[in-house]
Amino acid sequence: MIKDFLSHGFLQTRRSPVWAKSLLTNIFLGMLGLMMLFYVLMLGIFLHKVADALEAEFYQGATRIEIISRFLIYYFGFEFIIRFFLQNTPVLFIQPYLHLPLKKSKIIHFMLRKSMVSIFNLLALLLLFPFGVLVVFRDMGVEAFLGWTAAILGLTMLNHFLGIYFKKKLNDHPNLLLILIGVMLGATIVEYFQLFEFSSLSVWVFLQFLETPLIALVPVVLAVIFYQLNFTYLKNNTYPDEISTRRSSKPKIAGDFAFLKRFGKTGEMMALELKMILRHKRPRNTLVLSGVLLLYGLFFYTQPNNEGMQFVFIFAGIFVTGAFFINHGQFLLSWQSGDFDFLLTRNISFRQYIESKYWLFVAVCCIAFVISLGYAYFGWKIVFINFAACLFNIGVSIPLVMRMAMFNPKKIDLNRGAAFNYEGMGTAQWLIGIPVLFFPYVFYLPFTLAGYENYGIMAVGLVGVIGFAFHKHILGLLTQAFINRRHKIAAGFRAQ
C-alpha cells in the first residue's frame, strides 16, 4: 500500500503538467537547492572555526559549545518561521482515496510520514551534526554526542510537526498569527533591553542536553506528541469541502473599479485585470512584491559613498518605477490562460485587450513614480533620474516586455499557491529582465563617459518620450503580433 502511495506521489510530480514543460527550471532549482545544502554543510563543518572567531571577538573565555548554543534558540526560531512560510502539507493529495476501501488513518499516517522527507529537515542536521562529531564528541564524550544528536533531531522534528499543526490551527483561529507576532515582538523587546537573555537560556538548555543526555529525549517526545496531535486533527478534518473552503477562506469580493468604466471597454478590461490580480494569491503577491521593491532604492541611496555608485541609480530608477510591469508583465498572457478562449471568442477587440494591459502598466508606473518622489530626501537628482527612468519605461520597456512575453507563453493555474511556483516560466521570462535593465544604458553611457552625465539622463528620458509619442503605432504592432500568434498561444494554454 505504502508502495502504491509512494509511486503515486512520484508519478504526480513526474507527470504534473508543469514538470515536463519547465524541466530546465526544475533542474536549475534542483542545482540551486543542492548548492545551498552544500553551503550549509560546509558551514557546519567549519562551525567550530566560526565559534573560535566569535570567541576571540566577543565572548572571551567561553567554550565553543557555549558559543554555538547561544545561537541555537534563534536558529530554531528562524527555521520555524521559514517553515511557516514555505512548507506545506499536501492535504489535497488524499482526496481521490477517501471513497476507496482504505482506512483514513493509513492515508494520514502516510501523508505525515512522507512530509518528513523534506529539505527543511536536513538543514539543522547538516549544520549541527558535524559540530557534534568534531567538537561535542571530542570534548565531552560519546554520551554528550548522543544527547546533542538526539536534541537536534528532536527539535527539528518538533519544529516540523509544530509548524504543520500551527498552520492547520491558523485556519481555524487566524488570531494565532497575531499572537505569534506578538510573542516574537515581545521577545525582541525583552532581549533588546536586556531584561532577559534568550541566548543564556539557550546555552543552559543545551548544556543540560549534553550533561544529562536523557533530557534530550524531551524534544523527541514532544515531537511524537505533536505528530499525534496532527494525526488526530487531520483524521477529524478530512472532509474535502472543509479542506478546500479553508484554503480560500476569504471570499472577499474586492472592489469593482467602477471608475474605470468611464474609459470604455479598455477600462472594463483593466478592471477585469485588477480583479484577477486581487482575487488570486500569485498575482497579488507580485503586486505586493512590486510595492516592496519601491524600497529597493534605499539599498543604493543610503550607501555612504554613493558618489561612485551614481551610474547604478538609473538601474534603481527603472526597478523602482517598473517593478510591477517587469514582474506582472512577463506573464502578460499567461494570467489569462484559464479563460483565454473566452477572450478570443467574445466581442473584445484584440486592440483593446492589448491597450488595457498597456495603460494598466503605464498607470502603475506613474503611481510608483509619484510614490518614489519621497526619495527627494536623498537629493533632487534622484527624482530627476527616476523621472527619466519612468519615461523610458513607459515609452520603451513596457512595449518591449509585452512583446517578449508573447513569445511562447506558458499556462498559469491561478488557483495554485505562490511560493516556489514557477509555473509560466519560460525562456523569455528568464531573459526578460536583461534588456529592460540594460537598454537605458545604451543611451546613458555614451554621454556619461564623455563627462555629460545629466545629458545622459535626459537622453534616457527623451527616448522614452519619443517611444510614447509613437505609442499608437507601437500598440498596433503589438496587437498585430498578438493576432498572428493567438492560435498558437491558445493551443499552448489548452494543452495541459
Binding site: M1, D4, H8, L11, Q12, R15, S16, Q95, P96, L98, H99, L100, P101, L102, K103, K104, Y239, P240, D241, E242, Q496
Partner: protein, 231 residues
C-alpha cells in the same frame, strides 16, 4: 441498507439539505431527481462521509458512516472527477484499485473484459492519462471503478451526463442487469427524467434540500415528473 435520520447540512445559515427520515432497502434502485442546487450531490457526499452533516447522520447497515469505515468495503461510488487519480493512466488506476480489492491480474482482466462494449476501445491501451481523457471517458473509468470489488451499494451522480447515446443505452442495460442479477442497491441522481425512470424503481424528488415526492415508478411516473417540473 441505508437510512437517514434527521439529516441537515447548512452552509452559512442556509440549509441545503434537510431530510428528516429516509430508508433505502437492500436491492432497491433509488433515483434522485431535482433541479440544479437541489442538494442531490451534497446528500450523496454525506452518504459517502465526504461532507460532515450539520445535524443527524447517515447509517449504512445500521452504522453511522462517520463512525466507522466499514461501509467503504461494500460501497462503490463515483460522483465527480476528483474521485479519480487523474495523473494515472486508466490501466494504472484500475491496477491500483485491483490491489485494494485483492484482485489478481487474471481477476482484473476478467473484470475489465465485461466492459469492453462500454469502453468502446477508447479507454484501455491508449497511453493517455485520465486527465487527458474526455469528460465522457473519464466518467466511464469512474463508473467501472465504482463497480470493482462487487459492491453491495452503488452511488452514482449524474451517470448519464456527458455520455454518448450508445453508451447511455449500454449503461442503462448494465445497471438493470446488476439490479436483477446481483441485488445491488443503487443510488442514482440525474437530471434526465427519461433515464432515471427507466432504471430506478423508486424516485425521490428533491427541491431546495427537502424531499417533495417519493414515488414508486409506474407507467405514469415519467408524465407525473414532467408535470412536476413544468413551471
Amino acid at each position: 441498507m441505508i437510512s437517514v435520520q434527521g439529516l441537515s447540512k447548512k452552509y452559512k445559515g442556509v440549509e441545503v439539505v434537510n431530510i428528516p427520515e429516509l430508508n433505502i432497502e437492500k436491492g432497491e434502485s433509488f433515483g434522485l431527481v431535482g433541479n440544479n442546487g437541489a442538494g442531490k450531490t451534497t446528500f450523496f457526499r454525506m452518504i459517502l462521509d465526504l461532507i460532515r452533516p450539520s445535524q443527524g447522520a447517515v447509517l449504512s447497515k445500521e452504522v453511522a458512516v462517520n463512525t466507522t469505515e466499514d461501509w467503504k468495503f461494500y460501497t462503490g461510488s463515483f460522483l465527480d472527477e476528483s474521485f479519480l487519480i487523474d495523473y494515472l493512466t486508466p490501466e494504472e488506476y484500475f491496477d491500483f484499485l485491483a490491489s485494494l480489492h485483492n484482485y489478481s491480474k487474471g481477476d482484473l482482466r476478467e473484470f475489465l473484459s465485461q466492459f469492453d462494449d462500454l469502453f468502446n476501445g477508447e479507454i484501455l491501451g491508449r497511453d493517455k492519462y485520465i486527465r487527458d481523457l474526455s469528460k465522457g471517458n473519464q466518467k466511464k473509468v469512474g463508473i467501472v471503478s465504482a463497480l470493482m470489488g462487487d459492491p453491495e451499494i452503488l452511488i452514482l451522480d449524474e451517470p448519464f451526463a456527458n455520455l454518448d447515446p450508445t453508451t447511455q443505452i449500454r449503461l442503462k442495460g448494465l445497471l438493470r442487469d446488476l439490479k436483477e442479477n446481483k441485488q445491488l442497491t443503487m443510488l442514482i441522481s440525474s437530471h434526465d427524467l427519461n433515464h432515471v425512470t427507466e432504471v430506478c424503481e423508486r424516485i425521490v424528488v428533491l427541491e431546495k434540500g427537502v424531499i417533495q415526492e417519493d414515488i414508486q415508478t409506474s407507467e405514469s411516473t415519467l408524465k407525473d415528473l414532467e408535470e412536476y417540473f413544468t413551471l
